[in-house]
Chain length 290, copies 4
């Protein structure tokens, strides 16, 4: 499995001498224009480079791909982190047939959850759960659309643990909110393409303070992996300009529940109190006080 | 499959005359105390009602269940909207084996998305898309954990449509934020168990103002269905005290993408501008200005 | 018991013909300036209107009050809590001459600060400062327009103290945010007319948990005075439907600075770090990195 | 050109021995009270220090300035923008005597309001009011501590005008929130020392889109004055690391009330509705439904 752009470029470079003259032209073109190449057919690449379509296909085979579509798919996966919103709007996937498009989106989300199940690292998961439980203070940091996930996680962790802070852009800068992190604290960073620079800067900062960093992200190519002590993965689903955070939310649920199982008895008392308050103040439907 | 409380009660009532004397006692007890009955064993129900355990089991069979556990499970599903956090903490499902528990949570989310695919009403979906596109102003209302979904939807609709307001609790009350709704506006209400009373009150209010209401909710028993003009369904996944909003988020993605496909060309220009700004101000990783 | 302003005004109007000439002058003055009258002594009203103090006392008797203090108390109760926005919009004060109106607003704010200076209880102030400094965690609670003050106070206390939480309406209810208060914590409640019921409920709750409560409010008639351990006063300025929070903000500044003077040396280090971060990330104008 | 305070102080110190006796008095005064000195005339400094106005002018010359106005301008530039939090913490003003310090803070706020009254430009004020009333959409932008003011202004304008957006850092970037500004809109920018760069960048952006910009700031040296179409001034009060926003809040009140007077009749109906809702949902103290 070819994991990231650097590797792919490396593979091409490592195999460069063994390539035919025509394949070398393709190799050079892809290295220089991978963002365009990722969206061209084999025929079109051949045309641009000045070789035949079958030369492009053989090139893919030489690199270890069963065909050109797989090379192309790998390219697309890679560059997704670098893609601009505008490029993504013009991407080829078709959602104009509503019925088909709609199911495609939902199914892709299911596949991403399936992928999360298949690839979850249980030891890592245990480490994450226990470092959250041991932490004096838990900070949760996610910006832009990841902020919805951070708020969701904070909503639930906040009722279970004594000291949880969701770090969001607001009246105070995120650095000010993180200024007092200590070695006893944990920062959960949620970072999805197109990885917010500010999130990464802040995580590097807290890491320097000796704080444990837990990353929630999409793949090994995510820059958060080189910062975090522990990383959990759940893919995002890139459609048009939307990055679906469905599988990540499902992953967060497993985390919330795992922690909930551990503190179950301690929080039962809080919940009793909350229920009384909720009933007193009539928060939920269908429980009107008489 | 017995879908909701009203149906179950109906089934009991429709079959009432054919029930034995002892079964009638059970039926009456369950109708009056379904919230308690849902957490009682067959033996315990028998004890309370004054019949044998096997009478309770036959009662389940008469209603079409293969055994008492299935009747009980149906009852539990139903009442979930009325369940307190404390009752839920003591529920029987076992997540103490981390590996099994974790996969169970993820799989349940997949099933809920599958269920969304299987049951989506495409005509309704089209109506929803077109009323959002026609609206002068789009309000999005979701409180408590649904607020994370409202923020997520608002984040994306906000870049596509001219006038989108996420209505959240904050310095202004939600009624103040909704005070200027008109017949030309649409309010998208996101409401999941344990249905926030304030959300429902506010939706009733805007409905009275002649405003179109779109509901995003979990099932036909949701009180939002009697308020909304159009309702889209995606199940939530109840585990411990957590209501997973994974399938609902996946549903929102389909909505965002369907709208995105319609306004694709118009928004391309905005995105070009945004990309320039993002590059100028260095928002994302890996695109540092030279 | 006279329940609301309309009744009082009605009573005055219904009894108007039976009033003596001097009493009519008082009646007219009170109807036009009840917001001022509510805080004037009988002697002062007499002076302003041009009648004797005893005429004012008799006026109270004629309306059914056993003495002037009871009339005054009723007036205070009414105008602070019960004036609806609609009534206030129709109030007699004239701001239609822009120049005069504008200066009137600014001058009233100055007077309220002057009043704060004249009436500040220094011993109480010291108690407030020291309980904030001793607290394990400081919660700040202010809803509606007071939320702007709470955010402002939280912004500054947050950089000085280790554990400060601004409690606002948001994804979590304020009770959930306050559920873990202990005897070692302090809750600062900011409550201005028309005193938010939720703020008062929450303060009563934390008080029951043994937590110290500091009230910031406008006057002795504020319901927060019967809840708080310590109360600091700064008047709000009621104009149209606006409650100016200028003097309260000035009071908060004194609090921030008093605390700042105490922790000056400890926070200098944090500030050095923040300055580096601000420069690194170019937060402020005019310090562009070369 | 003298770039920053350290340099200026250095220059004074380096030249100290060569100064005349009277000039030394000026030097000492400026070093200790440069925040005040920056806003005093040569005559006033002379008066305070006990030297002639011409001595002050010569003092400026000795330091290399062509006249006193240039020295003063340099002082203003420096202290407003360039003082770091750390420098401010070590400033000479004494607040350690609580009683005196407390009154000093409150009095300075009063002086700043007085200064606002004395210097308000009524024609400008009228222009501001009328452009807000004419605007299709009103955006309010203030970051960091100015965000408390923006929220306060937005709270009140939001009930009076049809389309008001407070632009804050949050899930969406401020540029995204401002992307749809048109020539028919107005952006109110609130900018106080140490002027947030992001606020200024955003205002420059909307200005380029043809949008009217209203600045609320502290003085003519504020960078917002070169961007805004109209600017209203109210001084902030710099103590320790706190920038008191009391006078600016008082200024905002005048703006809210001026607009309120204009739309008084139109909003009365909304308020009636709100009052009903508030009573229905029991928002304020003392109005419990029976």
């Amino acid at each position: 499995m070819i994991e990231d752009k650097k590797d792919l470029i490396n593979i091409i470079q490592n195999n460069f001498e063994e390539l035919s003259k025509g394949q070398k032209l393709i190799a050079k073109y892809i290295i220089s224009h991978y963002d365009k190449a990722a969206f061209m057919t084999a025929a079109r690449i051949g045309e641009v480079v000045g070789v035949s379509e079958s030369t492009v296909v053989r090139f893919a085979n030489v690199l270890g791909y069963s065909g050109y579509p797989n090379l192309q798919k790998a390219l697309q996966e890679l560059i997704k982190n670098k893609l601009t919103t505008v490029q993504r709007l013009s991407m080829s996937d078709d959602y104009s047939n509503r019925h088909i498009g709609l199911k495609k989106v939902l199914k892709k989300d299911m596949e991403n959850i399936r992928d999360t199940i298949d690839n979850i690292d249980l030891d890592m998961f245990e480490e994450v759960v226990s470092s959250i439980l041991k932490a004096k203070r838990v900070y949760i940091l996610g910006l832009r659309s990841s902020n919805a996930l951070a708020a969701y996680l904070g909503f639930y962790l906040g009722v279970m643990l004594d000291d949880v802070k969701v770090v969001s852009l607001g009246i105070s800068d995120i650095f000010e909110q993180l200024l007092r992190v200590t070695e006893d604290d944990v920062v959960i960073g949620i970072s999805y393409p197109r990885y917010s620079k500010k999130t990464l800067d802040a995580l590097r900062y807290v890491k320097d303070q000796g704080c444990k960093v837990i990353g929630i992200t999409d793949s090994q190519v995510s820059p958060i992996t080189s910062i975090a002590d522990y990383t959990l993965f759940a893919k995002s689903n890139m459609v048009l300009f939307v990055d679906s955070l469905v599988a990540p939310m499902s992953l967060l649920n497993t985390l919330i529940i795992a922690i909930g199982m551990q503190v179950k008895n301690e929080i039962a008392e809080y919940f009793k109190e909350l229920e009384n308050i909720w009933e007193e103040y009539n928060i939920y439907d269908g429980k009107d006080k008489k």
